[in-house]
Subunit: 370 residues, 2 copies
């Protein structure tokens, strides 16, 4: 479907993750314009590189209507997830112009009386991606015995490339003939298309692990051999660690791919005194992840996915070498250099697993692809 991406004041690879990923993975949406009043008249590729080529940035939805969009997607996620009041006129215009609205905000646009009425009058859907679709359930432990090999991407922070690493890993695994599923846990992953998805950070905390377990069970029922479960946040994040750890335990990972942004030292949004919160040292965090998993799934950290966006290539390669040395794990930037290193590590570690999915992986011929 033809989409416009709303990203006022924030369009860019880190500040508008949803918009950027929709451009990078044009699976469900064909983007016709980005809306950002602070960058009107520019081109998307000036901010997000190649994936934005040919896409204009406009200052207001009305300037994009001639491009005949069918959907307005909210492409940014304000902290706290409320609806900024200044967006309302454009959302109104979207519905009045016959567009659907797809939103990952915590605040459900479909519950807003005015927008709900306009949507009904126009016969157009408001899709609140973060509204949980399934009834809440408590984790039972059943997920631990599921057939697929479960690989979980976990970060040193929010927005550390967990989703990107998950998608890249699944795509490379499929290329090698592995029956791999993408289990999305955030609004962006659900929007770009996934094999199973749940808006984990919007689930009531008691049911987070249960929702994660259900993702694995859904993918198991579909016969996948490998499920890559997108991670959220980090285990020592001052605000979101509960999401991280509940998800981590509930998906019962056999393996973890640890995700980090080269050079980041503090949690995003928590870098300024007096409320500054440093990241854990990478090797320390990897050790803690494995020890927290030991009594639950026994999962091990098998590789590191490093975001080197913005670094010149030689520096990126040096950053990768440093992180590999620091963590003792194979490391790469899957967006820049492909996910071969990650899939190699997963397949190698799967040799030690008795799971049915893992045995299928091990039976494949070694990749000639590195």
């Amino acid at each position: 479907v033809r989409a416009v991406l709303l990203a006022h004041d924030k369009f860019g690879p880190f500040s508008s993750k949803t918009a950027t990923c929709i451009l990078r993975y044009p699976r469900t949406y064909e983007t016709v314009a980005v809306i950002d009043r602070s960058k009107a008249g520019r081109r998307a590729d000036e901010f997000v590189g190649e994936v934005g080529r040919g896409i204009p940035v406009v200052g207001h939805l009305r300037e994009a209507l001639a491009l005949r969009p069918q959907v307005l997607v909210i492409g940014i996620a304000p902290i706290g997830g409320a609806l900024p009041p200044e967006w309302r006129p454009e959302l109104r215009l979207a519905l009045e112009s016959g567009l659907e609205i797809h939103s990952g905000l915590h605040f459900f646009l479909g519950d807003d009386p005015e927008l709900a009425r306009l949507a009904q009058e126009a016969g157009r859907r408001i899709w609140d991606v973060r509204r949980p679709e399934r009834p809440p359930r408590i984790a039972t432990g059943e997920g631990r015995g599921a057939a697929p090999l479960v690989v979980h991407t976990m970060g040193s922070d929010c927005n550390s490339g967990q989703m990107t690493a998950t998608v890249a890993l699944v795509e490379e695994a499929k290329r090698r003939g592995i029956g791999a599923a993408f289990a999305a846990t955030g609004q962006t992953g659900i929007l770009i298309g996934c094999d199973a998805g749940a808006p984990i950070d919007r689930v009531v905390s008691d049911f987070v692990a249960g929702a994660a377990e259900e993702l694995v069970l859904q993918c198991a029922a579909k016969g996948f051999d490998l499920v890559a479960v997108e991670g959220q946040g980090s285990i020592a994040h001052p605000a979101y660690s509960g999401v991280t750890v509940g998800l981590m335990h509930g998906c019962f990972p056999d393996q973890v791919v640890y995700c980090h942004v080269a050079g980041r030292t503090h949690h995003s949004g928590y870098a300024e005194p007096p409320h500054e919160f440093p990241l854990l040292p990478l090797a320390e965090e990897i050790d803690l992840i494995e020890r927290l998993l030991a009594p639950v799934s026994g999962g091990r950290v098998v590789a590191v996915s490093l975001v080197t966006l913005g670094l010149p290539e030689a520096e990126a390669r040096r950053a990768i070498e440093r992180v590999a040395a620091e963590t003792g794990r194979p490391t790469t930037d899957p967006v820049r250099f492909g996910a071969g290193v990650l899939v190699d590590a997963v397949v190698e570690a799967a040799r030690h697993s008795n799971k049915k999915g893992a045995r299928h992986l091990s039976a494949l011929k070694p990749a000639a692809s590195r």
Copy 2:
């Protein structure tokens, strides 16, 4: 207020925590009867000891109406928190008989059309304790700088005496002249009365840490020197670790009192193959807690609270000695032997803190109470 406690089939110290704690801490409720169809005609003290003395167990609400109760409190928490259909006739009868209903279920009784209608007709309140009262907020880090010393009780499992230890610690601290607050995080603590409370496991996961932080800020605003924040679950619980860790980071503890039930080896409800999940070794869990807290609040585990219920006294003392040796922390059972050991440890550790509340604690004379 005069209360009846609904606890069908489950009345007992571990199986009906809410009912038992309401009997143990008669702060808001004067219990006139317990309702448990499997124990009708018995006496409450046969199941929960001294705190149940003089209170009859009846098989149905109608047998308790002559005792003129004003409130029916749901005294048990079925896993998953749905409303068992067989309770409905008694809940109907309660409202028709002019009682309020206080419930800590995940399922909100006030949202049930029939019960809501009956409550309205009778002019009686349904209080859903788990319904969050405050708007969700993301943790900012502000709680770390709050004036009170924050002591957080954390367990090796759910139902490991976290609430009991918190209440006992606060009561002993007050007895010594410390301005101590009880911050409740579960339905039982909120029901028995607290200085600040939030139903943490019912909060959307993104906002768990923010809700915990707000408890500390509320108690700080009220001028307390010490805030004891009730913990939930454990950091390696297969279903609830997200609640545990989000709460742990969000309350920014200076100190942790670690809670354990003597002899327990597996998570309650997760002890049978194939879904059996062992507890972490105590010293390992304490180490992990401190390392997870290091970059967030730097909190340390200063003491262990051990539930020895059911053990003969000599065995209880031996269990306490063993745990003290295993963990290297002062250990006691605060219900059986008083919370003196815990408060001593808190006051001693507070000497190393620069927080305003901690300085007030340190200025107090040493207790003559051990």
